[in-house]
Each structure stands twice: as C-alpha cells, then as structure tokens.
Symmetry: C2
Subunit: 360 residues, 2 copies
C-alpha cells in the first residue's frame, strides 16, 4: 500500500514537473531552394552567381570564383522566436585575410521600422554546419534577408525555425539591377561578415539591387567575360576592375568592355571606379608605382572614351577611397570594415546622383 502511494506521488510529481519545465521546441528545417533568391545576374537553380557551363571559354579561375555565393541573399518571412541554418560548403582552405564567418558563414538581417538591421550570424564549423543565428525574439512577423558566404560555394542550405512556426517565401526588396564587376574587393575581402561586402551595404542603404560580380584576383576584363557582362539585362554597370589587370591590360581592355556594354545598353550609366590605393605601398615603392600606373591608365581610357563620344560614362577617383590614416585595410590590399565604410562615403553619394534618374 505504501509503495502504491509513493508510486502515485512520484507519478504526479513527474507530470507536474513535465508541465512546469519550459518546453524547448524542436527546430523544423525548410530547404532554401523554395525561397526567394536575390543577387543573381540571371535566375539560376543553384547558389552560383553565373552558370559557367554556358561559358566554356572563361578562364578556369573565373569559372571557379563564379560558383562562390558572394552577393546572394535568401529572402523569407517568419514569426519564429528562433532562426537557425544548416548549410554545406566545400572543404577549400580558409583564407588567412578574412574571418571564417565571411569566408564560409552566414549573415542575417531583419527589417525593423523600414530599415535592415543586423540580427545574427551563422558561424561555420566544418564543411557542413548547423547554427542558431538568433533566438528569444518576440513572435511578430519578420522580413529576413540571409546573406550567403562570400568566398565559398554553397552546396545546400536549410532555414530552421521553431516547430509550430513557418518559413514563408519573401520578396526582393531591392529595385532595378546594377551590376558591379570587379576584384576581390568587390567580392568582399576583407569585410567581417557577408552582409558587410560593399555591394551588399549599398543595396541596403540605397534600396537598389546591386549584383556582386567581384572575382578575387581575376577581375581582368577578358573579352569572353566582357561579352557575358554585356548580355545582363542591368540598368547600370559599375566597373570596379582596375586592381587586378596590369596597366597594359587596362589600356588594352577597358575600351572593349565599355563598348561591349554600350552596344547592348545604349543608355545605361557605366561607372568606372579607379583602384583603391594599396596601403602595402606605404613603403613598398614598386606596389605604389604599379597602382599609380593602373589608375593613370584607367583615367586615360575613360578620357578617350568620352572623346569618342561615349555618353553616360562616369569616373570615381581612387585616391581617397580608404581615407588618410592608412588603417583601412586588413592586409595592405583588402579593405577592412573601416576601409569599406570610407569607400561608401565616396561611392554612395556619386552612385545616388548618377542613378537618380533610374530610381524615379
């Protein structure tokens, strides 16, 4: 009899404790392939920037870099108090001048009072990672943008929310389409996280759909790449591609690129941005002279094209893009977040002025 009483008491106690203990709901995952994907020049099923099978003549390095998900963003909505992600990238080596978060990780923004506000990151662990990016939120409906890794290829991606909540396809909140073709700096080295790449910051600040076609070390204006760029149905083209080619290549190739774009887009603004000054040239006289020559040649090409009557062509000078204190890079070449902030202070007002007719 005593045993039965004890058993009943302990059973009651167990039920009571179970009812009292805070329920941690399980996460339910949705394949991001069913959600809105922003940032591609042409719509694709994969998380590549360009379908490189269509361009067999591209240099191998260009093809490989176009599989990196720089500038790609998933748009979705949810009321879940938690948002997690499961994703897989390649086993390629981590770059030593950037964070694993920007290299292989994720970056989540949520709209609040009309502005995109940082919410959390997805920290990568291995080839495949799972991470809770934000938790303990209220359950109002939230518009979310999830930025994909800048320097790796995303093989799969799932968004996780608390069971009982849903992930709903979002919209593309950015207007028009402006291609930025360039170097590692365009691709986003060395921002601290994917949403801090300067094209991504421009999109959030200006509400414009900037397309990141930065090709680390390989933004060299090859004819095949120029021909592809010209076929993108963009409203404007930003050419931030004067850091990778030699001064001679700049002299040989800039005219072809601009004319190829102009032939297919008679009125689209084309904006040349000279290379940032390399801080590794503070004392290295060879580096300093090379950048001077690159920018000199970019300027000469711009002048020639203007003389030949190319309209709606602009040039943003490179001499003050990183400020004056020499603290704006991670490694002497690639802007850190201060460097990118200073680039925006120069570039954004110019782009706002140039793109104004498009946006009204």
């Amino acid at each position: 009899m005593q045993r039965i009483v004890l058993l009943l008491i302990s059973m009651g106690l167990y039920s009571f404790l179970q009812a009292q203990s805070p329920k941690v709901p399980s996460l339910v995952f949705t394949d991001a392939a069913s959600l809105e994907l922003i940032g591609q020049a042409f719509p694709l099923k994969s998380y590549h920037r360009i379908d490189t099978t269509l361009y067999p003549d591209f240099p191998a390095a260009v093809k490989q870099l176009l599989t990196n998900s720089a500038g790609l963003v998933i748009s979705f909505k949810t009321r879940s108090p938690r948002i997690a992600a499961k994703w897989c990238v390649t086993n390629r080596r981590q770059s030593n001048n950037m964070t694993p978060i920007v290299n292989k990780g994720l970056d989540l923004y949520i709209k609040r009072e009309g502005k995109w506000v940082f919410a959390g990151v997805g920290r990568p662990s291995n080839v495949c990672s799972e991470y809770i990016m934000v938790e303990n939120m209220d359950n109002s409906e939230k518009e979310c943008l999830l930025y994909l890794p800048l320097y790796d290829e995303v093989k799969s991606l799932q968004i996780g929310v608390d069971s009982g909540y849903q992930v709903v396809r979002g919209i593309n909140p950015f207007k028009k389409k402006v291609v930025i073709y360039g170097s590692s700096i365009t691709q986003g080295a060395s921002a601290s996280r994917p949403g801090m790449a300067y094209p991504a910051r421009l999109s959030r600040e200006m509400g414009v759909n900037f397309i990141n076609l930065g090709l680390s070390g390989n933004g060299k204006m090859e004819k095949e790449v120029a021909d592809m760029l010209a076929t993108i149905d963009a409203d404007a083209f930003v050419l931030d591609c004067f850091a990778n080619p030699s001064p001679e290549q700049i002299a040989q190739r800039t005219g072809y690129l601009v004319k190829a774009i102009r032939a297919k887009h008679p009125n689209a603004p084309i904006i040349i941005i000279q290379s940032v000054i390399r801080e590794s040239g503070n004392f290295n006289q060879v580096v300093r002279e090379r950048v001077r020559q690159q920018n000199e040649n970019a300027y000469q090409e711009y002048q020639q094209l203007i003389k030949k009557g190319v309209k709606n062509l602009y040039l943003i000078k490179g001499d003050n893009l990183l400020g004056k204190d020499h603290e704006g890079t991670t490694d002497g070449v690639h802007p850190n977040d201060i460097g990118f902030d200073r680039m925006l202070q120069v570039i954004q007002p110019e782009l706002t002025r140039i793109l104004k007719p498009l946006l009204h």
Copy 2:
C-alpha cells in the same frame, strides 16, 4: 689555341652575366628576444603577458589567455629594403570570428613624419610561418613596431632583413603605463589585424603605453586577478570588464577590484567603461536585458564607490560605443574595425582628458 680563346671568352661572358644579373640578397634572421619588447605589465623573458607560474590560484582559462601575446610589440630599427619574420605559435584552432592574421599573425608599423604608419602583415600559414612583410623600400633608417598575434601564444620569433643590413634594438616610444583590464573586446576580437586592437590604436594615437590585459570570455574580476592587477606599477587603470561577469558578479566584485587598486595606488585614475551594447540583442530580448542589467549594476557600483569617497574614479557610458547603425560588430558581440573606430571616438577624448595631468 682556339680552345683556350673559347675558354677565355666563355669565362669572361660568365663573369659579365654574373655581374649583370640582379642580386636577390638572402634574408638574415635575428632572434626577437634580443630586441625591445613592449606591452608587458611586468618585464618577462617570454612572449606571455603575465608569468602565470606566480599565480597558481588563477582560473585555468585566465592562465591560458595570459600566455596569448595580445598587446605585445617588438621595437627595432633597420635600413633593410625588406623585412620578413619567422614565427611559431600553437596548433590551437583558428577562431571563426576573426582573421588568421589577427589570431596567429603579425602586423608591422613604421614611423613616418612622426606618425606610426601601417607597413605590412605577417600572414600565418601553419604552426610555424615565414613571411616577407614588406619589400622594395628605400634604405633610410626606419623605426619599426611589430605587433604579435592577439589570440595565440608566440613560441619563437625572428626578424629577417636583407644580408648586409642590420636589425637594431629600438626604444619604447610610448610614455607612462596604463593597464586596460577586460574581455575579448579588450584583447582585440574582432579587429582585422593585431595593430587594430583598440588598446594598440590608443597607444599609437595618444603616445601612451597601454597594457592589454583583455581575457577573452574571462575578464570576471576574480579576487586573485584583482590582487595581481593592483600590484602592477601602472599610472592609471582602465576597467573594461563588464561584458563577461554576470550582473550579480558585477555587484559582488567591482567594489573589491577598485578598492584593491586604490589601496596600492592612492592617486591613479581608475576608469570604468560600461559594456558595449550587444548587437545580437537587436532582436534577442534575453541578451538585450542581460547587457542592460550588467551596465546598470556597473553604474550602481560606480555610484556607491563615489559615495564612499573614492576619488579619481571615472565612468564612460556604454550606450553609444558602437554607433547607431548596428553594423559595428563581426558576430553581434565583438566589434569589427568600424566598431572599434567608434569606440575610440568615445573613449579617446575621455582618456585624453582624464590622463592629461599624468602626461605633462
């Protein structure tokens, strides 16, 4: 006879070619142990911040973190056109919220027209690395500061210059000694390179010898640590240690730490800096509330100490340290270089004002 003529011609040609080919001089390395080491609270032979064998009661994590070389700097002079380094660290895992350069690499500054100017980095490859940090310089004499890794232990370090040039011991260019005790943010997460940690930037900007005693995740004001801090012969103490302890620990421990320092340093300024607001708390309500409570308790402790008559005690508020656009962190917690820049904009004028009497 013909053979002899041919032999003489070819010998002459060989000598001629040898004289014409540009000589790449070999690198000659000097052990940095023979050079000036800046940034230690007490002079030590190793690249540790504190000799933890003297403090057996410190928590294990604190002991391990004090072996990290955050804030340590080698001062030397050379006329060599190239400066390289060979260094070894541990095989500890790379953090996913910082660059390998800041985690395990090196950062070189050179004095130009009275200012410290970024010259180059040492990119880490493995446990042991060799890297040419700058080359193609003129051969005027240069004063150099080499910042050591923020988040690893330096086992050995050698400075390399072109053969025919020398590495000469430099001086400590910074005056006085100001301890900054704190968290991972003080230690430098997530600056892009070692010289961008905020104590290092303060030293260059203010000319003051700031000592980095940031302890990632472990700046919790334990009694044993407080007692050690009080024994440092510093001219002022900055307490940036309100991000790691719980609100309760802040209430329990702040008074002891301040009084321990005051007992040994009757007149030294003691500056409390409230925790930065966590950007991960933009939507995570629990995080937001915890930081609010930490800073509330830090403020209460400060008020109590003032009431009890502690003089020369200051408080810098935490609410605007990262600006207002929520872009100042790498991961929601640790400032990126923009975040640190904004911290300096608040902290540096305050420290300049408070430390002014010491510096004249």
